[in-house]
Symmetry: C2
């Protein structure tokens, strides 16, 4: 069941949407190409669940037949005013379980926002929206989705996810119970729409945002969050390392319809003035609790960087390139002690279990160049991540495992297969990987190639890479380019995996293309704004959008028109039966010929085993 | 042996280079980032051969050690003034074989340039450079590289190619003799630098240019040719379908250092006023001879679109999307006769053998959507292309075979393996393939994903796709984006195939990155202009290019610095021996433990079978 509500444009906040920034009149283009998109709902009244989807209205075919609207997965959320934030719609679900309590929470500490905040006595743009009271599990309770799933309990979060994925809720419950999928949703982030990360489900993508010591502001980061979610980011990581880290995160979480991930060691490092040696377990634990109370849904923890693995990186071409990995390696070396994230891992599990925060086990020793791919350091750490996965599961804490990085194309598959085997199917979450190092400025592309390959073999979530990777901080255009590029990789992998329904959007778009329904072709594309703008560069006039030709062939000759003639002549069931008969006759003759020792190059018809008809590979 | 000559910038013609067109001061950026590139020569004085390469000068490492310059494959040619053209440096090689003759050639026909030229009495910008006299084989001779190779003759063209590829010339000769590689170089295009297309060699890319009835001029197309070659196109196809086709091609060929391909049916169709039914073998043959005399190096011939295959496309989602394919299908249906390209194929072979024009056997029935991938129509045509390959080889004519198109990722590999088997290793030349239909505006990316996969398994040349695919005609920026994207796909496939030396550029760039040699990182990238411009958006000051930090982490903390500390402490041979000893001890203990029934998750060291050291996958 589904209903349609208000008009909503995924780019309504956008004034700078087209990829190449070259097109005048973009705002008008936004309006034109997205006006057929609307917010609709999948409804499950029995369980009181409704899931937002984007509905794309389509025009009729030239033969007059209507084309049904297409509903597609939607990450944009209902939209929010940044200074107000989103409705905490999951709160009733959480409260109904009666296993959590509100509490006063950790005391505010100005150093959470860095030295500038301490000097000023405030962050630069304090959060003035609703100040939610933090919740945690009541003593002795575990409040993770994995815990419920293992008990056989189907939560509203699981119902939401099942409706969203179009699958049976038992698949959701059983995959979460087995650790093969996670639903990252901290009980202190009740604004977020549940989503699932696991290889049995649609491949997800993450977008990184966050300020740095060099540049950017809170408002910009909130804008990037909304922008990323609108174009299709399934989760967003806030990797801020500059001023106002706590407050920036508050703005982000309160406005985020998608799960938020962080790397808490970044903030902990700021609290010790950037001196890795000064880090302690106590400072780190305090930072983790701070973030648990704010509502961070998953945290990258570099607990696999063990002291004895560090020397394995010494003769690499690019050493340790993970920032968190090098912080922990630096700490281990400075103290000649084992990584405190490893030695205190059980305590982290106990904390995460109280809020339902998921681990994202960081790959601090991932290769930073194709020369270092699949080396001893990388795989040694993976063994430890597998061990930690098991330990987290003993606490019913959800886990995913991070992966590289820079890997030449032929070595990509080994990464996911090895991770899946060692980590017993825990979701794999990879950065790219980039399949070559030679194209800075285009690393969204070098990495999307590796990402498609690794997702095809079971990676559950792909961390995007923007064109600025290795060169600078992404701006809003870069965020969009990264998100769209990774939607392509994820969708291509869904198609390759034969995910049910994945081909519907391809088929609808291709039908629109074949029928010269230009507006539908734009509307069905991952980025309608850019598609329409590119078309208009060559043929800007409005009538061209309904013209029965395109710029490649011009108005005189049209390959699609000839195809239509062929369909008119041969497309009927009768014609097809006659053709089949003709080819069966040919095949017999051909087989006779082959049996008598003829060459194989006769123009016989070869129908591949997986093709029952001429309509292609996905049906 | 190699020598270095004048400074030369691959972007010297460019005023509009950066991909996203957002950066002010681009011309300055061009100068800065490319000044370390120079034209150098690989010399083979014994055979009088010298091959141009681009030499990239590198700075010293922070430890004071010099980094040798890197020489990379160069397609840009020596550069030419468009109105003069390039030096015909291959003429002495051709004349020395004494198997060709100059002759008067076919008479100029104004209709070669379309109706506007007939009306005006001239093309719009007649070629005024040197008017070469056409050559052809003397009666009874075959002048193809395949013919020489089969005789055991090593030509200067083969010597040139071997020096260029860094391989033994016997590999070149034997692969050409066997039909597994081609050297497309018409004797009437003596300006071109020989290159080879075959799976034993570096993966090549093609860029399409050409005007259409809707837009563009001769000067623009020549500019696009030079631009494409400068950024790395190995061949260029002129797909013009508008006015001045003959004259546009003359300008292009006289200025092209790379082989030029065409689809002669496009021009033939213009000669019959766009009416496919009016096409005849005679008009087509005359067009082919016209183009042979001009110097076209390879021609796409849609001889596999047989009458009986046409109905197989009737129920496809996107019918026939190849323009040439639909022209021939339209002709077959209109006349109820077999495709004249098929019935006259032997005559085409006889013509091509006189000029050394290579076939590019067109896949007129390729799928235009993932739904139609690997279907009966596509594979029926491939069977016929295999038959035609054998027929061309009987005439010693060089052949490559074209492939799709739109193919979901998991079905890509089957395409190249089937083609290689059926066509006995004849080079495969594919358009992408695009692995999803849902991203118009980003089809350079959707197709680069498929291109990497198909090249990994043996496709020899990749036809680029620009961001404008399906939407409009590519401008100069689009051409560059398409070329760089396809250089990425081709190079990633070379790495995956373990092509000797392919990883040198990756390793040099990664070393520069690790050592914060920013200028070297830009210079070594496929697109130095964009890399430098992106860096400068965040950190524009000149000192930042030598700063020991980047914008991601800021000046305070640097993961690369920690890695350097690790290297200083553990990177020596003694340290590494000690580490190896430690790990051998650990492994023994671990094996004991496993033997006694322990868990596999102990943090033992796992060294993959193909990795002898920690220095990565390609060494």
């Amino acid at each position: 069941m589904s209903t349609t509500e208000t008009q909503h444009s995924p780019a309504q906040n956008g004034t700078n949407a087209a990829q190449n920034g070259k097109n005048a009149g973009q705002n008008q283009a936004v309006t034109q190409s997205l006006k057929s998109h609307s917010l609709a709902w999948l409804e499950d009244p029995e369980h009181g669940i409704r899931v937002p989807v984007t509905e794309i209205a389509l025009e009729s075919s030239p033969n007059g037949l209507a084309n049904p609207p297409l509903q597609v997965y939607r990450t944009a959320g209902p939209g929010s005013d940044p200074v107000v934030g989103l409705e905490p719609f999951r709160t009733p679900w959480i409260e109904a379980r009666a296993d959590t309590e509100a509490y006063s929470g950790r005391e505010r500490n100005l150093l959470d926002d860095g030295k500038s905040a301490v000097r000023r006595g405030a962050a630069s743009a304090e959060w003035k929206g609703a100040q939610p009271v933090p919740r945690r599990a009541v003593d002795g309770k575990t409040v993770t989705q994995m815990h419920y799933a293992k008990q056989g309990i189907v939560t509203p979060e699981m119902q939401f996810v099942a409706l969203r994925e179009g699958c049976d809720v038992e698949l959701v419950r059983s995959e979460v119970a087995a650790g093969r999928a996670i639903i990252p949703n901290n009980i202190n982030h009740p604004e977020s729409e549940p989503m699932i990360i696991g290889k049995a489900f649609l491949v997800k993508i993450n977008a990184n945002i966050g300020n740095s010591a060099v540049t950017s502001s809170i408002a910009e980061e909130v804008d990037k969050l909304q922008w990323a979610a609108q174009w299709g980011a399934d989760t967003v990581m806030d990797l801020s390392t500059g001023d106002d880290i706590h407050t920036t995160r508050e703005w982000i979480i309160r406005n985020s319809p998608v799960p938020i991930g962080t790397v808490p060691i970044y903030q902990a490092l700021e609290k010790v003035n950037g001196e890795a040696n000064q880090l302690t377990w106590e400072i780190f634990r305090d930072t983790v609790i701070e973030q648990c109370e704010q509502g961070v849904d998953y945290m990258t923890i570099h607990a696999g960087v063990l002291l004895r693995y560090v020397p394995l990186t010494a003769n690499r071409v690019t050493g340790i390139v993970s920032r968190g990995g090098s912080i922990m390696a630096g700490w281990c070396l400075a103290h000649h002690q084992e990584n405190f994230l490893y030695t205190h891992f059980d305590e982290l599990c106990e904390i995460f279990a109280q809020y339902d925060v998921a681990f994202s086990l960081g790959d601090g020793l991932r290769p930073g160049s194709v020369a270092d791919a699949n080396d001893a350091a990388q795989f040694a750490e993976l063994d430890t991540l597998a061990e930690l996965t098991q330990r987290a599961w003993e606490f019913d804490v959800q886990v995913m495992v991070e992966g590289p990085g820079h890997i030449p194309f032929h070595l990509v598959r080994e990464n996911v297969e090895r991770q899946q085997e060692l980590c017993k199917g825990a979701p794999f979450y990879t950065l790219g990987p980039l399949v070559t190092d030679v194209a800075p400025g285009y690393d969204h592309i070098t990495s999307a190639i590796g990402a498609t390959e690794i997702a095809r073999y079971g990676t559950a979530m792909l961390c995007y890479v923007t064109p600025k990777e290795h060169l600078g901080l992404p701006n809003k255009d870069d965020v969009k380019t990264g998100v769209i590029t990774y939607k392509i990789a994820a969708h291509a992998a869904d198609l390759a995996k034969g995910h049910p329904g994945a081909h519907e959007r391809d088929d609808a778009l291709s039908k629109a293309r074949f029928e010269f329904r230009w507006r539908d072709q734009f509307a069905l594309s991952l980025d309608p704004v850019t598609a329409e703008a590119f078309h208009d560069e060559t043929l800007p006039a409005e009538p061209a959008k309904t013209a029965h030709f395109c710029s490649m062939c011009g108005p005189k000759f049209c390959s699609m028109r000839i195809s239509q003639d062929i369909r008119d002549e041969y497309g009927s069931a009768d014609s097809q039966a006659a053709i089949a008969g003709m080819y069966n006759g040919m095949r017999e003759k051909s087989q006779e010929f082959l049996a008598s020792g003829g060459k194989v190059y006769l123009p016989e018809l070869q129908v591949p085993a997986n093709q029952g008809s001429s309509s292609g590979g996905l049906n």
